[in-house]
């Protein structure tokens, strides 16, 4: 009979959690990105967390893990109008400049200026300190077209 031991290993800075499953004579590891409950997600890997009329926007743990070490975040100006599905900024990592798309429409009311000097916060805390912009929503109905955490997790499993 196979022996199994479960443990969970937090890989701090990468924001990944791995379950280590040990079988007799073999070890298998399945690593998966964190998907925060209570957030809404776009298939393009951005998230929105709504509080009243304002949504905080960032990129998911899956995205930051795939991008690699973030070295630069190009932030929009406060007051800029953003549209659902259109690019609002750029994240640079591993020689790649990747467009970031707004999951919702509205007006940028705040940007995370911490990311100017500490862009790696996007990697270490993608759902909390690594948020990118806050948007005053112009159409709350758009939220219904975003994925909930379970649906987004299934989307990530396809990759």
């Amino acid at each position: 009979m196979a022996l199994r031991a479960f443990g969970s290993l937090a890989l701090g800075n990468l924001g990944l959690q791995a379950q280590v499953m040990q079988f007799a004579g073999a070890t298998a590891m399945r690593a998966y990105a964190t998907v925060e409950k209570g957030y809404k997600y776009a298939a393009s890997h951005e998230w929105a967390k709504v509080d009243g009329d304002v949504a905080t926007v960032g990129i998911s743990d899956h995205a930051q893990g795939e991008l690699g070490d973030v070295v630069y975040v190009e932030l929009p100006d406060v007051g800029k109008a953003v549209k659902k599905g259109e690019t609002f900024g750029v994240v640079e990592s591993v020689k790649a400049a990747s467009d970031v798309y707004s999951p919702i429409s509205g007006e940028v009311v705040e940007v995370n200026s911490l990311l100017v000097d500490k862009p790696g916060t996007v990697n270490s805390s993608p759902f909390k300190e690594g948020w990118i912009i806050k948007v005053k929503l112009s159409n709350k109905g758009e939220l219904s077209s975003l994925l909930d955490s379970d649906a987004y997790a299934k989307e990530c499993e396809k990759h």
Partner: protein, 258 residues
Amino acid sequence: MAVGAARPVLNLLRLSRLPIYTQLNLEEALLRATKDNWLIVNDGAFSPSIVIGISGRPAELVHCKSALESGVPALRRFTGGGTVVVDADTVFATLIMEGSALPDVECFPQPIMKWTEQLYRPAFAAAGCKDFGLRENDYIVAGGRKVGGNAQAITGKRWLHHTSFLWDYDPARMALLRHPPKAPKYREGRGHDDFVTRLCEVLHPEHGRRRLVENFGIAAAEMGFAVQERTLADAAPALSHRPLLLGTKPLDLREFLQ
């Protein structure tokens, strides 16, 4: 690519001595304003230029005073990555892809780089270099010597990956660049001349460059693309697309003198 599936079209644009500023604007326009796949090969830039990545700080990356005195202009490009100095002895290869053309390649930096290695390796082999490969995020030959700079731009399910291969370089121009703040692990503290190599010292000095330039398109066809030759007249209309915000800009190094 799936066996039996229709071969995706790859538009091959062969150029020579196109100015790097024009090349970069054309690349970004084709990335943002079309849904087509492109392989652009520019055999040499029209004139020397320093090219800095999207977030690069000129004062940290370039000896600005020396660059101004030398007359080599600088510009900022729209892709990530480091700083290069290009000239007529730089061979440029740019891939612009719709993600659906390569369904097994995720639109993230590492999968894209691994795929480009599969295309460039046979092109280098046909040109006479059988040990071309990817090491960390660089293309290398001869067991660990870098042969060019590369960078990417990813927008949704479309991506662009461009490389400046060093057929040869002028040491005096290369000296205009400062040592980058971060070095890859495989550099292992080596000085510039031991870390970077010229392709003219690796490939046949007379035929190697021509064979390399020719074989980029051949390698793409052998990977399953339907390669179609295009001209600048076919590509240029992308520049007229509106709105089109292009991220490549000339830099005035006087603003960064310390």
